[in-house]
Structures are given as C-alpha cells and as structure tokens.
Amino acid sequence: MKLLIYEDGKFDNFYPLTYLRASWELRCGAFSLRQRIEQLFPGVQVGLWARDLLVPVLRRRYPDRPVNDLDALKGDDVLLVNGRALLTGPVDVRDIGAVKSGEELVYALLPKEKAAECSGLEDLLALAESLPSEQKDVRVVQYLWDLVSENPNFIERDFDRFGPKVLGKLHPTAVVYGPEDRVYIGEGAEVHPYVVLDTRGGPVIVDRGVEVHPFTRIEGPSYIGPDCILLGAKIREGCSFGPVCRIGGEVEESIVQGYSNKYHDGFLGHAYVGEWVNLGALTTNSDLKNDYSTVQVYLKGQWVDTGELKVGAFIGDHTKTSIGTLLNTGTIIGIMCNIVGAGALPPKYVPPFSLFVNGKIMKGFGLKYLLEIARTAMGRRKMELSPEEEALLKAIYDATKGERAEAVKKFR
C-alpha cells in the first residue's frame, strides 16, 4: 500500500494561511496535518497532492516525496487520505473501500489496477466515491478556527509521542506547577530561572533548542516548537508555535506556523499566524465581542458566521504590523501586508499585499519592494526565498490585484 495525502478544493477556506502552503501543511497540536497522517502509517511510501499553483514550491519543500505524481504510486493499492482529516490512530485499513465522516471523504483504499488508470485527483476521488463506504466519526476541518479550537486536544494527544522527559536544561528555580510527569524538555532546550510550567490543565512540550527566558509562564496544554525563544511571555493554554518563533507578551489558544516574531507585549488570542510575520510591540487582537455574540469573518468575498464566541485574527505570511496595532475580533489579514495600525482599527478583511496606514488601505510600494523585505527577513534566519516561492508570490500578487484595487477605492 502507498499513501496519498491530498488537498481538495476547500483550500481557500483556509485563506490567508493557504496562499503559500497546502492545507495539509497547517498545524494542529504539535504537528502539521500531513505529519499527523504520516505518523499513522510508518514505513509506507507517501505521495502528496495539492493545487497546481503550489506544485513547484512543494516539490522543492518535499524533495523525498512525489508531489502530484501518480506514476510514483503505481504498482500498489493507494490509500487516499483527505489532508483536512484529523485522524487519530491506530487506523486499521485492510479492505478496499472508503471511510466517510458525513459527506466528507476521510480516506479510501483504492485498488491498484483502478488507481493506475487515474490521471489526477478528480479521477481518484471519483474512484473513491464508487467504492463501498462506511461512516466514522472523524473531524474533517473546514476552517482555520476549527484548527484553533482542536489544538488543545491534539497537544494532549501528542504528548504521548514526546513523553515525560527532560533532555535539555531545566533551571532549579524554574517551577513545574502541577504534575511533573506532564513536561517534555527537548534536547538543547533551556528553561531559565523563574519560569513557571503550569501542567495543571495539560502537558507542556518544549521542543529541542528552545530557550525559555525568565518570568515566562507556560500553561498546558501547549507546544513550543524547535528553536523558539520565549521572552518573559505569558503563554496561556492551547498554544502551538512552529519552529524558530520569538514570542513575548500574552498568547492564548493560538497557532503560529513558524519563523514569526511577536517579541513584545500585546495579546494574541484564538489566532492563527503564518510564517515570517512580525507583530510590532503592543499589537493586540480581540477574540471576544462585547455583546458575546458569535464572531463573523469576511472570507472569499462574503461574511461567514464562525459559530464560535472566541475567534482572533488570521494573519498571512510575511505580514508586518506596526507598534500599537489593534485588530478587531475575527480579522483576516492577507499575506505580505503592512499594517500601520496605530490610531485606527484596520478593516476586518485586508487583501493580500495591502498597505494599511492613516486609517485607509492604500496602494503599497509594489511587489519588488515586498520581495526585498521578505529576502531580508528570511536572511536573518539564514533562509532564502526560493525562485519557486517568488514565482508563487508573483502569481498571487497578480491574481489579487482586483480585490486590492476595490479595497483602495473603498477608502478613498
């Protein structure tokens, strides 16, 4: 059996986080959705599928996995797995057939002869539809706020993969407040003096190479990804930070994809932040409306009721906010935006590559300028903007010109 993890047409439900990544690259718990699925099938060859626009970037990012390449999967039955499925193990797949959760396909084992005749995802999905199916209660996420709300549960589950271990340094004056066997400190990680790891509500996972500076308080369940630095932060329950983030201030039930900075004070709650984001000092998002009603977000040109009382901001990759930026409940900010928010609340939807300043969305300085900033920011972490990523950014810049022009007009 070979495994194919796919992204379907709902990728745009996860904008702005999926402009530059496949939906199965999003995080929940200590891992990405792709990692979660792969872990359930150790030793099985994995292929990946995503929309055409992403393929060059994904091929560079996953050189050891075939991307949109069905030839590589020939000769074996193919287990087609929905990349939005929050599968939990163990998964016992023996018979040809499909497993659904409601109307959503979770996975299907496709016979090799018929799978070999398929030329793309549509064919594979049609084949899956034609097979006998059974129902299983599996959460298939629909929106970013689903990942945020599931995050604490999955950190709890993921702790088993880490276990209670202290491989790094835990300073004698640091305190584990609650069960001591609910802490993992990875290799090379260092927890400085006067840090509180509060495990009463769940485990605290501090991955390899993390530095936790004095006076930081981490409430479990929380996951701090490799090489992050926490700077006297107040990390409330339900946070997951991907690799190489710098986090200060107060963060609650939020996911940061990785390589982003929130160095200073300011509150981030029920938010999902992309990569290479910089939140200026005192940047704060609201995650609860004053009338306690459910939060609406503006997504794909229409208002969507999240059905949730607590929803923070969704901030796309490479976006920067100024000092003192305040974000309304359920604000969506596109990729590569520059938000100079001091003095005025940005609108609840800011299109990709926009500049918000002096209370209005304006034409920015152009893509060349933004790419130069991205190169500088990535260079500071010894990373490079690849030609494939640059081409993807250019394509999205061109594709979103219209909505940007509309937004500019509105603010005239």
Binding site: V340, L355, V357, N358, M362, K363, G364, F365, G366, L367, K368, Y369, A405, V408, R412
Partner: protein
C-alpha cells in the same frame, strides 16, 4: 477654460504635501524639496488617481521623483486612456 494637466498636478501636490503652490515648480523634487515622506508619496499617488481617474502602477509611480516627472507620467497615462 479647463485647467491644464500641469496645473492640476501642482494643485494636488500643494494640497497633499501642504506646501505653498509657488514652491511646486516642475523642477521640485518630492522628497528633497517638498519634504514628502514615504507614506505621503503613496497618498500622492492615490490623490493623482482620484483627480485624473487613472490607475497608476505603484512601482512605476514611485520611480517619479519630480513634479515635472509626474506631469509627464500622468499626461502619458491620460493619452493612453
């Protein structure tokens, strides 16, 4: 008689950058002579677009350094409109 493009450009510049119209000569440089900060340059682009009902490419527009350059650039856009 309707105002020339040059006159309209100068008026927009004077209003946006809050400088006396006499200082807005064709040779005047936006940054060095008229004190435009980066954000003001962007506001100026928006004001030109509104005044002349045109679309300016942000990268091209920000290459324009003088009032005379703006008159020339906008005249060209109006010709191609």
């Amino acid at each position: 008689m309707s105002q020339s493009v040059a006159e309209r450009v100068k008026k927009v510049v004077a209003r946006q950058l809050r400088v006396p119209i006499e200082r807005v000569t064709e040779e005047a440089r936006f940054v060095e002579d008229l004190g435009a900060e980066s954000i003001q340059s962007l506001e100026l682009v928006m004001a030109f677009e509104e005044e002349f009902d045109i679309e300016m490419d942000e990268e091209e527009a920000l290459q324009v350094k003088t009032v005379g350059g703006a008159i020339e650039y906008i005249s060209r856009l109006l010709e191609n409109k």
